[in-house]
Amino acid sequence: MTSQQTGSPHQFPAGSDAFPHRHLLGIAGLQPWEILFLLEEAKQWVDLNRKSSKHADRLDGLTVINAFFENSTRTLLSFEIAGKRMGADVVNMHAAQSSIKKGETLIDTAVTLNAMKADAIVIRHGSSGAVQLIADKVDCPVLNAGDGSHEHPTQALLDALTIQRRKGDISGLTVTICGDVMHSRVARSNIYCLTTLGAKVKVCGPPSLLPAALDRFNVEVFTDLDEALEGSDVVMMLRLQNERMNGNFIPSPREYHYLYGLTRKRLTRAKQDVLVMHPGPMNRGVEIDSDVADDPDHSAITEQVEMGVAVRMACLDVLTRQSRGVEGWS
């Protein structure tokens, strides 16, 4: 099938051909229809999540372990809710303060998790490539919930789903991603996802926070936000980590706000119906002004959170289909 078709499920290859991957480690390397398939699968869960009874039983009896080696509130919560709504037994492991601190290696931890016979493991880790390292050592599907500056695939999927619902087909849209691209796994996964789905992607940030060879990623690179916003359908602001604000990468938060903060005035450069997104948590008054973040006409920030649960439900479902013996998913 062609890459840009969206719409009803019958357009996808049958059974596991629609998503022939054991793990979800990143967006890089996924085919456009594989991304669209996951988004399509997520839509039914958006509807379910809006009902008063939010329970599905697809993952009944399965154990999902959320192993978070790096502090997280919203992503962990989102995965926990997703697993529970699908009927799985969800266990959270906050490894940031556990045996890792006692010197246990990551591989030993992976082997331990594996011995507990999880049916899916969701992993966040502060080091790029760490999730792949664990995935190579366990027998069940692994979902990357963010590894270092590498990838955060479910964030890109929930962003794509949000855009799709507000704007329709992603192909042909202009999306501006602005902020600390160098250290951002969200930016990388979104660049892969959006360019794969045919969007025109503009990337903007202070030169000290743009990674090397960004021009090789099928994006347009800007250091002037006003220019980058010109004609945009969607603008995604990235979170600026506190530790980068004090002279190491940029001089100060107020200078960052002056040059790269999304203000109402600046937003007028974009298309009139521009969609404003942020993966959270926001630094209000630094990368984004409150009146923009809270503007219901433009901001999709809370909707992103909502889509996050649906997308993670879909990912847990699709990745466990083989082990659950779903027909066509051998």
Binding site: I107, A130, R185, F217
Partner: protein, 406 residues
Amino acid sequence: MKRIFTDARLLLPGEEHPQTGSLIVEGEHIVSAAANGEQEGGDAIDCQGRILAPGIVDLGVFAIDKPAFRFGGITRAALMPDQSPVLDLPAMIKQSAAEGKPDLWSHPLAAATIGLEGTHMAEIGLMKRSGAKAVATGRQWIADSGTMLRLLQYCKSLDLALIVHSEDAGLTQGAVATDSETATRLGLASAPSAAEAISIARDIALVRETGAHVHFRQVTTRDGLNLVRAAKGDNLPVTCGITPAHLLLSDIAISDFRTFTRLSPPLRSETNRLACLQAVKDGTIDVISSGHDPRGPEDKRLPYAEAAPGMAGAETLLALSLTLVRDGTISIGRLFELLSANPAKILGVEAGLLQAGYEADFILINEDSPWQVDTRKMAAAAGNTPFDGLPVQGRVTAIYKGGRAY
């Protein structure tokens, strides 16, 4: 008692190609090595037409790993001071120098500064008396140019070469890769390759000032090599080296987070790799060494950025270097200048050449013998090689240190 190694293809000093002849050894030393040399007057050992080359002098290893060195034909190894504890005291030099004998001579390199921290000069003079043949900055560069100047003045007066690591740490702090598309895709912290040229430029300026001999242990970029080439053109006492990894692999090899490719300096772009090959060919590069650093799973089975740098290179050094001969980059005679004669000269030891009066350190080589690199079957203390699975040719069939077979 005299022993005559007959029917050998000798790699004689200054010769590009092997000369069939014989090598005569008496005690621990070479008596003569010559094409069509004499065949009588001692115990004869038939070399069956094998190449007889000087034993490899491996300049800058991180561990004394005898099984790997024997497999690789290494008869002397200069040990980096980056040990635990750091080789920054005369007693440690003395102990380390005795470690490999008799079959392997270890030449511990004196740490330039205490703890390799780059601030306080170590007791280089006393370490020389204890057997240090050169001084090294370890895996660090010395950021303070004043400290570096005084070190070079000191090394010059003691007639010792200073072996330096060439990366400006201000740029490479925290980086595990070279700035590139690959590093960005993987989300790995990276630094511009200019970090190398910056540090080389500073050190060359100080060589010009002091006249001290600096050996840049690994030069891996076009710009760095251009600086060394120009300095040599000005007759400055500089030399430089490289490992086979930087000649054969580019930064694309780090894809998939393979920690065996985490090296220091990191793998470079293809343009830089080709510049390195050119520099081997035109004589800018003086030394090829293994950088041998066996690291077990506790150091390597980790996320890429947390893994220790380094590769187990000793047993693949010869076979990988022979590809340079096979592809016509250099002659085999020139290769053994890079592997044996030049490193021995930098250390100031009478070895590395098949020459009367020198130590009888030599190896017999079957240069065509095929084998496959296999991390699980290595002789080294650990099998961390980025060349796993690579078919190679050339292996050592016999090794002699001080005239004795081991």
